[in-house]
């Protein structure tokens, strides 16, 4: 089962290694990881997707909580949340097919951000399914390269993943 964890960590050298090392050493498979800032200086947020059964996830959360630099771990899987991934796609674009690509990009609300005589780079955001669908469409033109951020997400509504105890 796929689970999505939000991990708030102190922004210290080596923290990413501590977290990712814990996953690999205990044999948990990370499918996706994204790291970035939060509103608070010195605190980063990691969004990690793992494939694991509920007992394993419980163990992962407990082990993560033992890391001294980890502030809070929340399993967001069962909570209503929105998640997005950003992807850059470089496609072959012969002059004759450009408008076709442009149209398709528009359908996905993707943006063309670079153009060269025989290729273009398209920026697209969305959830996994949307990105998958987009890639499938682009295949027809020939994908040269892709780069993606990994998924980040927030809980819906006014709820936040940080609790008062961790803030103090």
């Amino acid at each position: 089962m796929k689970r999505m964890l939000a991990i708030l960590v102190e922004d210290r050298p080596g923290v990413l290694t501590r977290v990712s090392g814990l996953f690999s050493r205990r044999g948990y498979n990370i499918q996706n990881i994204a790291v970035g800032r939060t509103m608070e200086p010195g605190i980063s947020r990691m969004t990690v997707t793992v494939e694991a059964d509920p007992l394993t996830v419980e163990q992962i959360v407990k082990q993560l909580n033992k890391l001294v630099n980890v502030l809070k771990v929340s399993d967001m899987t069962d909570e209503p949340s929105v998640g997005r991934e950003l992807m850059l796609v470089k496609v072959k674009a012969e002059p004759g097919r450009r408008s076709e690509i442009q149209q398709m990009a528009a359908t996905f609300r993707a943006k063309i951000i670079d153009l060269s005589p025989d290729s273009m780079i398209i920026e697209v955001t969305g959830d996994e399914q949307k990105l998958q669908a987009f890639l499938m469409m682009m295949q027809e033109f020939g994908i040269k390269e892709i780069a993606s951020t990994g998924k980040i997400s927030l809980l819906r509504g006014s709820k936040i993943t940080r609790d008062a105890k961790a803030l103090s």
Binding site: E10, G14, R18, G21, Q63, N65, K66, V68, N69, S168
Partner: protein, 560 residues
Amino acid sequence: MRLTGAQMVLACLEAENVEVIFGFPGGAVLTLYDEIFKKGIRHILTRHEQGAAHAADGYARASGKPGVVIATSGPGATNLVTGIATAYMDSIPIVAITGQVATPLIGTDAFQEADITGITMPITKHNYLVKDINELPYVLKEAFHVACTGRKGPVLIDLPKDLQVQEGEFAYPAQVEMSTYRPTYEGHTGQITRAANAIKKAKRPLLYTGGGVISSGAHEELLELSRRVSIPVTTTLTGMGGVPCDYDFFLGMPGMHGTYAANNAINESDLLIAVGVRFDDRVTGKLETFAPQAQIIHIDIDPAEIGKNVVAHIPIVGDVRLVLKELLKRLQSAETHDTREWCAKVLEWKTAKPLRYRQEPGSCLKPQFVIEELYRLTRGEAIVTTDVGQHQMWAAQYYRVKRPRALISSGGLGTMGFGFPAAIGAQMAFPEKQVICIAGDGSFQMNSQELATAVCYNIPVKVAIINNQYLGMVRQWQKFFYGGRYAHSSLAGSPDFVKLAEAYGARGFRVTRPEETAAAIDTALNTPGPVVIDFQVDPEENVLPMVAPNTSIVEMIGGE
């Protein structure tokens, strides 16, 4: 106050009341050692950094205080790794301070550079690479705090050479402020009440206790609980001394080399009260067959241990001693269920199927007999350390310790070569006590260089080598599970241990016959300074009972 980094370290050691440190110098800790020289703090120079790490560990296990070890960068630091991992697996508080190349050189493959914080990340509770002198006072404080609180464990501080000479403002913090690290000490009251009710209802309760009892100092509460409600107790290797081994309701060790009584009690219990244990595979055997009839109460300070290997029906996260205290308040003997029938049955197993061996007079010396004699002649009062192998299991079976912190052994990692340096550390904690290392002939050779340390500082550790001329435990597995093919488990060609001891300036004795044993032990115990006794025992003796790996613990070879 303005201090250099090296002076800060020494000021911290003083503030933490560290009375002895173990270490080995080198280029990246010269400034630190200069300060050690000036301050005159007690320092034990071992002959190998691994020896220093195990000594710090032995000191910590014997005393309950954190052990401190220092090594230089690169090879000095990597030589600590086995010692740190050993402490980590058994949750022993040590603070390791390593030198590092100067900060501008970090990451350049400089001379004697090793990424020791990277290397020890999975085997420390936490570690620090200090790059700013202003952080050092706080890091030092935090390191001791993290090592000694919650589930204890090793912490490493990597201190670059240039920071040791750099000056900064020093005030040792009175306390730590860690929003990300707050161990839970008090157990959940509702859960404790549930546990008490389960105990009242239980017909066949059993206490299965481990290193957590020793670590939290819960031995009195444990004994009281066992007595008050009449619950038999089995303790793991690292939990030995949690109750006195001569206590009526003590069943011995469970698991692979556990007693018939302990393993059967686990099998038939309807309520297993697991206290400060982690359901290691050496204890449980095949998990699906472990304690099949029991509800499980699991008390541990580390939430991650609960539910890791077995599902606990009543989990309680907290300090074992505090939780047991609360539990006792809820258990008055009058209202508890009568466990007399169960106790009678368990004690019947205990008397009917004790551990046994046969020492024929005038014939080959039996290792178990040697350990029983050691026990008898020290009146069970010695601090015993062990290496790893058959002799370790025999020590746990036959040296029936009466107190916590009296049997010191590498349980989780099973580190050969641990015993002797750990004994040196334990002796440093208790200079007046009798400290005995029960060593294997293979294991002893992994750290025998520390004889120089023992002689140099006149540390009067007595080493009883159970010399079976084999990597005995390996040989036993080869005998039982590999058709008797003894692949590279013979230790033929080992040195003459008596001469080896003498070469270092220690005393050495040899015992080959049962009749000589008592006199030799007596002489050794009354000889000042370090002594090695080479007990040449039956090479083919096996540790029994034995449960084959990943089978049910009631399927005991030699259990009948």
